[in-house]
């Protein structure tokens, strides 16, 4: 059997592709396990198991190697019982199994105080903020982007200012947003809007400009005029690429979420993360961060799957 798979190995089989995709997750996980479970890899600290004669040692305490050895030598010279310990990682690097169990317990742990929220409630708040920020941005950004990409006058009238505005970091508007919109959800949605909208207009306009010009020429020779040209040729001609842009832009919106949620009253997943970090529940912090990743990835996979269904003429490209 021939095994040549094309220049740059692009011809790998679907099964091999899937295996590689799984491996891309297993590799970092393996590295994490290595650092966590193999005692002589890293482990810069010592977890005290028996305090012995050291007055300030307690069981479960983490101390540096050098400190531990010094104290052990001191008490040994004094003829007192020696302390014992095992190599350990800092508290901010929990082992995979701790994070895995936190993943479960984070959902089942009752909030400490009555006014605090469950994790799933925090997550839901975040999702709503993202959703409204992105929907509002798209409601204005997509039409404006398409118009700017289609008509030179609209492009020249809007894009220079937008180009300037997109360099202003969205979080810089935090205080302003709170002053105008209050401390609850509205300023957070505004930050996501500001972070997404200006990029969105430029990205959508650029994609719209890439429409195959001969399609437009074919359409005008068939009698298409301005409005029908826009709605029957330009938009359907670029819609699949716009869809891809939107998937990427949605990823950017998530990155603005964390900053947005720190504005005014801290809420949502960010509140959960900062709260857990304050209690040094780093396993919970990791669980929450991974949860954002999983949410993002599943949304994207779902949108990809949905795209293949709404745009049947694009299916061949995915196979190719």
């Amino acid at each position: 059997m021939a095994t040549y798979s094309g220049p740059l190995g692009r011809g790998v089989t679907p099964r091999a592709r899937f295996a590689l995709g799984v491996a891309s997750f297993l590799l970092p996980l393996g590295l994490w396990c290595l650092v966590s479970y193999v005692p002589f890899v890293w482990h810069p600290l010592v977890e005290v198991t028996v305090p012995g004669g050291v007055s300030y040692f307690e069981e479960g305490m983490l101390v540096e190697h050098a400190v531990f050895e010094k104290e052990r030598d001191t008490v040994a010279e004094a003829g007192q019982p020696v302390p014992a310990g095992v190599p350990a990682n800092p508290v901010y690097l929990p082992a995979p199994h701790q994070v895995a169990s936190a993943f479960y317990t984070a959902f089942t742990t009752k909030p400490l105080r009555r006014d605090e929220k469950w994790l799933h409630e925090s997550l839901w708040t975040s999702i709503q903020v993202i959703f409204w920020g992105f929907v509002l941005s798209s409601a204005f950004g997509v039409p404006l982007g398409i118009l700017a990409g289609s008509y030179l006058t609209v492009s020249k009238l809007t894009e220079p200012f937008i180009e300037f505005f997109r360099y202003l970091p969205a979080p810089a508007f935090g205080a302003l947003a709170v002053a105008i919109l209050g401390i609850y959800e509205a300023p957070k949605i505004a930050i996501i809007f500001i972070g997404t909208f200006f990029q969105q207009v430029l990205v959508i306009a650029n994609t719209t400009r890439k429409i195959d010009p001969t399609l437009l020429e074919a359409a005008v020779t068939l009698g298409a005029k301005r409005v029908s040209l826009l709605f029957k040729v330009v938009i359907p001609g670029v819609v699949t690429h716009l869809y891809l842009d939107m998937r990427i832009l949605l990823g950017w919106a998530w990155t603005y979420l964390i900053v947005a949620e720190l504005i005014g009253t801290s809420t949502g997943i960010t509140w959960f993360i900062t709260q857990q970090a304050r209690y040094k529940n780093f396993a919970n912090v990791y669980a929450a961060i991974i949860m954002i990743g999983i949410l993002g990835l599943t949304t994207d996979l779902f949108l990809g799957w949905l795209g293949a269904r709404i745009f049947p003429w694009e299916r061949h490209r995915r196979r190719a």
Partner: protein, 304 residues
């Protein structure tokens, strides 16, 4: 080299002369009057087309041929209204052309089908633009799809079709608008030889059966002779009309005529016009700098 003796391309049989006589009495559909096209570029002004004048009669098949850079694509784009001319005018049925319009259908080399529309929807596009109702447009579109023999593929998407089939859809789409004139810009240039010859026969069939005048751009001499009533030969730098040849090969055409004396005479004339014998050895440095790269002791030291 001995050449076989050929008649002149100007010799026409009685039937052919009679046909051209009748053709020229038909109403003029396309009237091009001293058309001029200049481009501004960094290197200064370039004249792409200079003083182009010709007339095309109803249901005539005109081929435009010329070396690369003669502006034949520019010419057809001006006829389609996709580019403005810098001088002269183009009349369709006596009315000057100003921008693209439904009276001129265009078929592009790259098919330019709408990939998001099925074959049927592609053909319906022009009908929708003219405000025809869905069911009327659909039944009309299906007739045109039937004409190009693609009824089985009415609900397929363009990416599921071969190149020849795509170009048939593009022809049906252009014809569905029932234009006065069909402009074709090297439509079969991207097809393989076999598909191309089939498409030429299809096109002649379609042309015979409907009321359509065709202006067909090509750089393939055989294609031009096989298809055309008359061939407009352009020359390059600047693009000017060199000759308007009345093809003496009798109609209806068939591939059997490829070796007929009239056919070969026309081909010889076109060869003379398009590939004139080069004067001097070095025309513009466009030659290979060859030296022998084969070992003298090589077993196969010479291909002769």
């Amino acid at each position: 080299m001995n050449r076989i003796a050929l008649p002149s391309h100007l010799d026409q049989s009685e039937a052919v002369r009679d046909r051209f006589g009748r053709l020229k009495k038909r109403p003029v559909i396309l009237d091009v009057q001293s058309l001029q096209k200049e481009f501004e570029s960094n290197a200064g002004r370039t004249v792409a087309l200079q003083n182009i004048s010709f007339q095309t009669h109803r249901r005539e098949f005109l081929c435009v041929i010329g070396p690369s850079g003669c502006g034949k694509s520019t010419l057809i784009r001006i006829l389609a209204g996709l580019e403005p001319q810098t001088g002269g005018q183009v009349l369709i049925d006596g009315k000057p052309v100003n921008g693209p319009g439904r009276d001129r259908g265009m078929v592009f080399q790259g098919y330019s089908l709408f990939p998001w529309r099925t074959v049927k929807k592609n053909v319906m596009f022009g009908l929708e633009m003219s405000g025809k109702e869905g069911s009327v447009a659909e039944s009309e579109a299906l007739q045109w799809i039937d004409l190009v023999g693609l009824s089985k593929f009415a609900n397929s998407y363009p990416h599921e079709l071969s190149g020849g089939m795509k170009q048939r859809v593009a022809i049906a789409r252009a014809l569905a608008n029932q234009p006065r004139i069909l402009l074709m810009d090297e439509p079969f240039g991207a097809l393989d030889a076999q598909t191309r010859s089939k498409m030429q026969q299809h096109l002649l069939e379609i042309w015979k059966n409907i009321d359509i005048t065709v202006v067909f751009i090509t750089h393939d001499l055989d294609e031009a002779i096989y298809l055309a009533d008359r061939i407009l030969v352009l020359k390059a730098h600047p693009g000017e009309i060199q000759e308007l040849i009345e093809v003496p090969v009798p109609q209806p055409r068939s591939p059997d005529q490829f070796l007929s004396p009239e056919y070969l005479a026309t081909k010889m004339r076109l060869e003379q016009l398009i590939h004139p014998p080069e004067e001097g050895v070095e025309v513009n440095g466009d030659h290979l700098n060859m030296m022998r790269m084969v070992h003298v002791d090589d077993a196969v030291s010479d291909v002769m």
